[in-house]
Symmetry: C2
Subunit: 373 residues, 2 copies
């Protein structure tokens, strides 16, 4: 079980590197499609390969509740179960316990929560969460953390941060019993600069293989996200990857690459695809609009994805209106291709020392283009 | 615009042949997946190629209502519109007008009907239906017919048959103005042997490229279907393909191949897939059953479809329970592969003069196997 990260170059705070998972080399910055239930919604593994995905995210909370650890183990582990040979990062469930579960009772040792599927009561602690991720064979596991909503005041965020740091230490211990290829710590602290700094300082020397910035995109103004992220990345060790959890819009990703982040995941390309929102370098195409009914152009001129090479906006709009299942697949293929290639282009720009002008061009194309947003 | 049919061999009444559509050679017997709205539900054209589909069916009634002839014409015709380079047969809408539309007012000239989408009123006559199929570029068009429900009495069925035959003649005329690669007549007559015979005798010398047996599988006992079909195929010219519309279960297809039918279409493999019913040579696997939760076998041992080569029953059951969109795609791929390969195997048996033992084996495997039906 080998994991390594090589930082190849920096351009300002932006970084280009390679994560080696043994079976897969993941070039960073990287965008990870979200496959909550061990399936990236509406696309098959062969399509994920075709859009260039090297690593996908799945969710400990969901997989634990359904199908459960026994099924995944009996069916050969998560990779074999879902027919995916490349990288898998699993979220710890911390975020889901606080966003999806009805009832939770959090204390220093762990958290009780009620399944959103059948209302049954369950308990997660840091050790259990490492065990699960170890047993089903995640490439990268995440530690259990507490992710307070944006609305909470500083004293509460501080209290939850203390629990998160205690849990991070327990997770390191748990790893001795439950080996896992890589385990990432999560830096919390809300929108409070001093708490983020404290969190990063406390975590940076722990034996993690990488670090996430958690608790972003939970309702805070975008300026807060852009301000606290570099406070954290400034402190984290340079030789380990940094991951901004649940981020985000294309512009958020570009801005956070510029602030030292290497890894991203977000439901936006997949979820918005299913709602008819298609990303292009010129902005969003809202395919349900009547103006696209007879439009024979692809979603984005010049895009090399299967959808754009094969189908017109007019046909996609027809599929959307007729609620044909293939719409979800075709739209998801395009949006994932857009996200993955946006981040790939950013990487190339970093390697060539022109990230600033890349970023300028990114915004310029959006201004010049017509967006349906 | 070339169309030809070559009858290669007969084995009893069973036939093996080739339909040449110019761009595609279609070996018969053939199963045609149904793509009502210019999309076979849940699968992309590249997957249809992978499961071996040579020709798909789409519906004049649906396409006319949405997206409409103007959109399909502006977007380059039906093949280009849906990104499908192989064969397309379009149903005339006769069946849909009588099964889907709320209101219809039928007279000797044509039929008024109310759209099931928005309630708007429309008129189809034989000429209009040939025009539509010609303009959007179907490879094989079907004539407008009247398909009475099983419950109707003989005098009504006879009256509707007379209209159908009148319309068949008008369709032949319409073709002079609206060229189409192939146009098939439809033999009606319900479950009445003499009406079926009369219909076949009246139609057999008309200038059609092939003939369909319509009005089957509309609620009649299976014995009626098996009895009236050979009455019709006995009369139809041997040098033209015969198509049993909307048929059927695997055993219906085998039985009708044995009664001289060359072409089949049915929503069963695609629709049942979405309900978790998976076809195998041993019978049906109902994937929602708890017994499959930890089952690491493919749907059917030895099946070479993408789904069976890549995923376990346990994973498919998980996707079904989690209502993941990929379930519909994977289940549809398998069921279409099953249907298409069942008919391919039947063809090989006919070519080798062993259709009878093939049919015996088909039933024997089902008896020996465990079916969840």
């Amino acid at each position: 079980m080998s994991f390594s990260f090589e930082l190849i170059t920096e351009d300002g705070m932006a970084r280009a590197g390679i994560i080696d998972l043994g079976h897969t080399k993941v070039e960073t910055p990287v965008f990870m499609p979200v496959g909550t239930n061990a399936s990236v919604k509406a696309v098959l593994p062969c399509m994920l390969v075709a859009v260039g995905a090297k690593i996908v995210l799945s969710n400990t909370y969901h997989l634990y509740l359904r199908p459960g650890i026994e099924t995944i183990e009996k069916l050969g582990g998560l990779h074999k179960f879902m027919g995916w040979k490349r990288g898998i990062l699993t979220d710890s469930g911390g975020f889901q316990v606080f966003s999806l579960a009805d009832l939770r009772n959090i204390h220093m040792e762990g958290v009780y929560f009620k399944s959103h599927i059948d209302g049954s009561i369950h308990f997660f602690d840091p050790k259990k969460v490492v065990e699960l991720q170890s047993r089903w064979g995640s490439d990268i596991g995440m530690v259990l953390d507490v992710c307070p909503p944006y609305s909470e005041d500083k004293s509460y965020v501080k209290k939850m941060l203390d629990i998160t740091i205690k849990w991070a230490k327990s997770s390191i211990n748990a790893r001795k019993k439950y080996p896992i290829k890589a385990l990432f710590g999560i830096v919390q602290g809300g929108v409070f600069d001093d708490l983020r700094k404290e969190a990063a300082l406390q975590m940076k020397d722990m034996e993690f293989d990488g670090f996430a910035v958690g608790g972003l995109s939970v309702g805070e103004p975008i300026e807060d996200m852009y301000r606290v992220t570099p406070i954290v990345t400034d402190i984290l060790p340079k030789n380990k990857p940094r991951y901004a959890m649940g981020i985000g819009k294309p512009e958020n990703i570009i801005e956070l690459i510029d602030r030292g982040i290497d890894m991203f995941d977000c439901v936006m390309p997949t979820r918005n695809a299913r709602n008819g929102q298609l990303f292009t370098k010129f902005g969003v195409v809202n395919i349900k609009r009547r103006e696209y009914a007879n439009d024979d152009r692809p979603i984005e001129e010049g895009c090399r994805c299967y959808t754009c090479r094969s189908f017109s906006r007019g046909y996609l709009r027809h599929l959307y209106k007729a609620q044909e299942l293939s719409f979800y697949t075709l739209a998801t293929i395009h949006n994932l291709y857009y996200y993955i290639n946006l981040v790939k282009s950013a990487r190339l720009a970093i390697l060539e020392g022109r990230f600033k002008s890349f970023k300028d061009d990114f915004y310029k194309m959006r201004e010049e283009g017509k967006s349906d947003e």
